[in-house]
Symmetry: none
Subunit: 162 residues, 2 copies
């Protein structure tokens, strides 16, 4: 799997009273170059207290991988169960949300809670996917490198000052 277009960069956007957030234009352009969906898939990040996001095509790719794995071990009952569980996590525990003509999504309440997102959303490109953080949570996270926290601080300043 060699993805041609990668997510990179960072931005800090507001979540408004209705729960709407603008997806940064530089991330949207990657989504639209990968497919033509104007839609993102949201999931709780498996390790960090934040959200993981990607385009629907990437989700399908992940699914195809799981399928192939299953067919190899079709007769193994343990493999069956693990397949069921992973499939549930990959699809039931995620939400697909379209963004409108102005590039905004409505952050689903469940994801907002799971990702601890308040009224500011920090977007971080990570190549194949991107992450959405509560900037406070990122600064409090010991496993995050200081250089990255500096970026978060900068984005906060930038916004606080203007």
């Amino acid at each position: 799997m060699a993805l041609e277009h990668l997510f990179q960069g960072s931005a800090l956007n507001a979540v408004d009273a209705k729960g709407r957030v603008s997806i940064p234009a530089f991330l949207r352009s990657v989504i639209e170059r990968r497919g033509d969906s104007r839609t993102i898939v949201l999931a709780k990040h498996e390790a960090f207290p934040c959200l993981s996001a990607y385009d629907p095509g990437y989700a399908a790719l992940k699914h195809a991988k799981l399928e192939r794995l299953l067919e190899k071990e079709e007769t193994n009952p343990d493999a069956q169960l693990e397949y069921q569980q992973r499939n549930l996590m990959a699809f039931a525990a995620t939400e697909e949300v379209p963004y409108d003509s102005s590039g905004r999504i409505l952050m689903p309440p469940m994801m907002r809670r799971k990702g601890e997102i308040g009224d500011l959303a920090l977007f971080l490109g990570t190549g194949e996917t991107f992450q959405i953080w509560n900037p406070k949570a990122l600064l409090d996270e010991p496993r995050i490198p200081d250089d990255l926290k500096d970026i978060a601080r900068f984005r906060l300043e930038e916004r606080g000052a203007s």
Copy 2:
């Protein structure tokens, strides 16, 4: 087999006194993009105490899958029997129900019993198909990952609070 449109997301809907349930709009849209039937096929899930559901087109696909599996082991008499059994389950033990203009099905009493569905139905997308659970049964099921149970709890809360 590469299905283009996958079932994704979760929702908790009420089963009313007449046995009617709304199929969540985001699942309906997948059904209608896969074919043009406004119909779902219900079956008892093969492993979990819940229902498995999909569009009529997928049933045909499943049949082809079984056929292919049989041909691989044509000489094995055990495989023949298993094929017969799985084929029976896939077709005799299912019910096809249309949904009306408001997106509701009438849950067939037999399926309701088999799936242990009470007056709340939890819908979980799993890619090629989706599942319908009694939320209580899901919380009691040891083979279900905790993160998924959290989602069920969230959906219950969301509904209880409002």
